[in-house]
Symmetry: C2
Subunit: 340 residues, 2 copies
């Protein structure tokens, strides 16, 4: 089969890869209907994370089950399924508490390379959620978004304790930040401040329910949030970038007793203990337990109550994955969908 | 009046200080029944925090109201009152959310020096809680503990989301950690692991409801907590020290999705963003909003359902404050009560 492989920073190639097969009785093999490029794929693409060897890429996927191992009970060949970027058994104590991305048996799907024609999914019964029937073609991008960026933005909002009456700020206007706005709206936030300086992303943020746009960053951005909240800061802040600046912006924009939900994969972040102590914020986040939210998110998408697929503003055949990475790296695209 | 003043690290003197008086119409002046030395007083005493000028010391206090300003409505001369280390209006939006120690009008009582015969308390109506009548003498130490260390340990347990069915670990066996154990028991924890290597403190921890004692620290301590929790870590960890080692010990001893409540005043702490991200813990803490808990804690003490006063294992006249500091610095005492 064909699949995307990162050879070095900036060097993504689509080439022939070995066909996946059932390796463990809990595996499934799926044929991908769609896959995509994640903001986190840009970390190694940009050389911020080392690339030590040619690495299959991709961890977002929807598709049709082709084959299952002998111990798979819930997932059946022919079903359309949505997965997430950590395989999880969904039965251990950590999974049952809603932290499937820290499952005691978790396996990163990214290492298997979902930007490909087919994918082996470990722990299929715990990891995959099937739709009641094959979804209409136009909903496939939304279901694909649920596989990571929607689930991640949603977790950011849940971790930030978004709810009715709350003022929410979202730091980061990538796909996760934009879907954090969508999640905040769905979770009943009263006011949603999107921090963005890009006209097209501001537009989508407003479409998803943002009530205010703040273009300033860093301390100026914090000052604007304070201005908008009687000097107190937001109740809830979703951090969807992962840098030192964005984390500090999120913490400082949150009122004492408020909540920061951080889902940007941290890179080079060191949190100063004394400032954090006196900030009085709640801090929670990490790799989103997308599996916790998948059933609900899939329903919302199939009922056409949310349209997370709008974050895909570039669609390419899998063979043009390199251009898909380039477009995101150069910020010409928010998110690239790839058709195998 | 006489009061304790820190001149330099290790140099505490009890000397004549100016008598406090009503300066603002929201002030009260109280005559102290008891005051004490806090673990956090040891930071400047040990030179970890700079001592730039002679500084009145102390921020824990109970006593009888002598005089109130013209705007004070709730607190009356003659009442026995308990306060906390930040004065707060108890009416602003932050106070109403339960974060009185971040009140928009907060004032640190420590700057006024509660290790003294009398004390001016700003924002008296918001800060002070009166007992229904003068308490029996033997309950005064417990009420004094409520002023900080009990309220702080309690906040640590609340911030760590302690509750029925939970396994709780407490890092730090000072007065705050010991009262964190007491709080965990009151809040219904199923299992309470006290981390302590001092026999007398272990004994008090067990008295307060600890079910297990772990003497190891750092990574070894974390490994012991994992051993005791099926390899997962505690649901809730109370951090009551404030060093890099204790914070990392707390974070690493907490299971994914679990909660760290940190109340040790952070000194030199830098939290590594990537480890925090993948830890999946909830982090909350800071200066305890003791005022939130005072009414409930006072009731528990007056009903003799808890005895937080046991943390005072040394009682001295105010004039011997220097010996009180020394005994705590040398770990001969957990906590020193001073009688003005």
């Amino acid at each position: 089969m064909r699949g995307a492989v990162l050879y070095a920073p900036g060097d993504v190639r689509v080439e022939q890869r070995q066909d996946p097969r059932i390796e463990h009785p809990t595996d499934a093999v799926i044929r991908l209907a769609a896959t995509c490029v994640c903001g986190s794929d840009l970390w190694p693409y940009r050389g911020v994370e080392p690339v030590n060897k040619p690495s299959p890429m991709g961890h977002e996927y929807v598709g049709v089950v082709e084959e299952v191992g002998g111990d798979v009970r819930l997932v059946k060949p022919g079903q359309f399924v949505v997965g997430s970027f950590f395989a999880s058994d969904n039965t251990c104590e950590i999974c049952r508490a809603g932290y499937q991305s820290s499952c005691v048996h978790r396996e990163p799907v990214g290492a298997l390379g979902a930007q490909a024609e087919r994918l082996r999914v470990p722990l299929a019964d715990g990891t995959l959620v099937a739709t009641p029937e094959a979804p209409p073609e136009d909903l496939v991008p939304g279901l694909l978004a649920a596989s990571d960026v929607l689930g991640t933005g949603w977790f950011g909002a849940v971790a930030a304790e978004v709810g009715p009456g709350r003022t929410v700020a979202v730091v980061g206007d990538g796909a996760v930040g934009l879907l954090g706005v969508l999640a905040a709206r769905q979770l009943g936030a009263e006011r949603i401040i999107a921090m963005s300086r890009h006209a097209d992303r501001q537009k989508l943020a407003l479409h998803y329910g943002a009530t205010d746009i703040v273009t300033e960053r860093g301390d100026e951005g914090v000052a604007r949030i304070k201005d908008l909240t009687d000097g107190l800061g937001a109740h809830s802040v979703v951090e969807a970038v992962g840098t030192q600046e964005s984390m500090m912006q999120a913490i400082r924009a949150t009122r004492p007793g408020g909540h920061v939900g951080y889902v940007g994969v941290a890179h080079g972040v060191e949190l100063p203990g004394t400032e954090l102590f006196y900030s009085h914020v709640h801090l929670h986040g990490g790799p989103a337990p997308v599996r916790r939210f998948l059933p609900e998110l899939i329903d919302l998408i199939l009922e056409r109550r949310i349209d997370p697929g709008l974050v895909f503003d570039l669609e390419l055949p899998l063979d043009q994955a390199a251009e898909g990475y380039r477009a995101m790296d150069e910020r010409r695209a928010v998110k690239t969908l790839l058709r195998p």
